[in-house]
């Protein structure tokens, strides 16, 4: 039996799903390896069914009754609930929402899905790269919990993210050795390397969590430290 997967979009730009579709010619194989039972953007199913994996993209609008219903629903119906992308995992750009805009001036509170219900995996990134999303799906299909561990930890921590994490968790803890991968990975180019240390521009940071996830001095999963299959 194929693993059933649903994709549910909350308050988001849909970029995380587009990122998955940027696997280009491989997309057909990926969709062929799973049973995509719900994905309102790509298919006609109108009701979220029970599924082995539910990928949720987007933040939760606490001021929208319908959204809160869906949030309950995805937790009940998904065996593995994945907060896909910054908005859902750590807040991302929606951390800046504050409401007051027409025609729905009262919709002002947006939170990461991880803050609202228990998620099993949370994947930062705005959006996470196509390769990473595929890696995660593959790991879920193969039950590769070792690979997924950092994402499980992320889901548990229910924390927000910010470029400041590099300052607090790396530079301030005398762990930064200046590799620069944080700067390379930042989707808004908010990070410059100055004197061998990241300088984060608070003007450009959208709190996506990529830089700190990518930093090998915050977490170095064991699986990385092997020269496997080469």
């Amino acid at each position: 039996m194929m693993v059933t997967v649903a994709h549910v979009q909350l308050s988001s730009c849909c970029g995380c799903l587009i990122s998955l579709s940027d696997t280009y010619e491989k997309l057909i194989d990926i969709l062929g390896s799973i049973d995509l039972v719900y994905c309102q953007t790509l298919a006609d199913a109108r009701e979220i069914p029970n599924a082995d994996v539910i990928l949720v993209e987007g933040a939760v609008c606490l001021d929208d009754h319908h959204t809160m219903e869906i949030v309950k629903e995805v937790r009940e119906k998904g065996k593995i609930l994945v907060a896909l992308g910054a908005c859902s995992a750590v807040g991302g750009i929606t951390r800046f929402c504050k409401g007051g805009q027409m025609p729905k001036p009262v919709q002002s509170s947006f939170s990461a899905l991880t803050e609202v219900v228990k998620c099993d995996l949370a994947i930062p990134g705005c959006p996470p790269s196509p390769e990473l999303i595929v890696n995660v799906i593959t790991a879920v299909l193969n039950g590769n919990m070792e690979y997924l561990r950092p994402f499980a930890k992320y889901a548990e921590s229910k924390r927000g993210a910010c470029g400041c994490d590099l300052i607090i968790n790396v530079i301030n803890k005398s762990l930064c050795m200046g590799c620069g991968v944080c700067a390379a990975s930042c989707p808004t180019r908010a990070i410059k390397m100055i004197e061998g240390r990241p300088l984060v521009s608070s003007e450009l940071c959208i709190k996506c969590g990529v830089c700190s996830f990518q930093c090998p001095r915050i977490e170095l999963p064991k699986g990385v430290c092997q020269l496997d299959g080469e």
């Binding site: 200046g178 090998p216 001095r217 170095l220």
Partner: protein, 284 residues
């Protein structure tokens, strides 16, 4: 304890091209390999540490042999090479990228390959990683202090710096050679290096350094198929000359000793940090 990590073979080698040897730190393995890769369609861009003003290194995407040679030689201070990984693919349009880096930078690259969260369509274009041995690095002003205050040379004048035989050496363009005992440089080391247990860049395709081989030669670990293939082609084509590594005390022996020293010392530091309740990167 395993000193070197996984590898298929280790040799002593040096480049045959005199242009490279004139500028390279040791046997010119890094520059020669990158140039060979660029000239033979194995690589189309390499990330190196270029020499900026006052010996300040600047990461650069080099796409020609000339640019590779310009960036040869060790800079004993942090150069965030990996910060260019994405640019190399994006505005430079490279598909086959070579990366040189210290062991920690190779670890960063490996993590990026395994977890490319913020590196869309990038990591599949990393064609070769070359790691350089590293005991520790210095912040820029740490290096400056060593060169200017301890060795008494002006940074503007420096043409080469080197670590060997227990000393930090500075060569100036006026032909002078100055040195200071390594022991005296310790206070200027980058503290973040003290939680690093990798001396020989255990995750690179090829790792190289001077220790274990005679002056002007390099010790080279071939760790992966990719790494082996390119080095073999270079040897066959006469781009590298090689000899078996000295298995004795001044060859593999000293290399092993230094690798283990780093591991033991820094594992202690990691344990110490844990005791203090400070975070450490490696999570079991």
């Amino acid at each position: 304890m395993d000193p070197f990590g996984k590898y298929n073979s280790i040799i002593s080698a040096r480049a045959t091209d005199k242009r490279i040897l004139k500028k390279s730190q040791d046997g010119g393995i890094v520059s020669a390999t990158f140039i060979y890769g660029l000239e033979n369609n194995i690589l189309d861009g390499v990330i190196v540490a270029d020499r900026g003003e006052k010996f300040k290194p600047v990461p650069k995407v080099a796409t020609t042999p000339e640019e590779v040679i310009e960036a040869a030689g060790t800079k004993y201070t942090v150069c965030p090479n990996i910060s260019l990984l994405k640019s190399a693919v994006r505005e430079y349009g490279c598909d086959k990228i070579g990366v040189v880096g210290t062991p920690c930078q190779i670890i960063s690259t490996k993590k990026a390959i395994k977890y490319p969260v913020g590196l869309r369509h990038v990591t599949d274009k990393i064609a070769l990683t070359i790691g350089i041995f590293c005991m520790e690095n210095f912040p820029y002003n740490g290096m400056k202090t060593v060169v200017e205050e301890l060795c008494g040379a002006r940074l503007e004048d420096v043409v080469k710096t080197d670590i060997g035989k227990g000393k930090f050496w500075v060569y100036t363009k006026w032909g002078e050679t100055k040195s200071v005992k390594l022991k005296e440089t310790h206070p200027y080391e980058q503290i973040a290096c003290h939680v690093c247990t990798d001396y020989t860049a255990e995750l690179a395709d090829i790792s190289t350094g001077s220790v274990g081989s005679p002056d002007g030669w390099s010790s080279v670990f071939l760790r992966t198929k990719k790494g082996e293939e390119i080095i073999k082609k270079m040897i066959d084509g006469g781009y590298l000359e090689t000899k078996p590594i000295d298995e004795g005390k001044f060859g593999l022996g000293i290399l092993k000793k230094l690798a283990l020293t780093k591991k033991e010392k820094n594992i202690k530091e990691i344990e110490h940090r844990k005791e203090l309740g400070l975070p450490v990167p490696i999570i079991e």
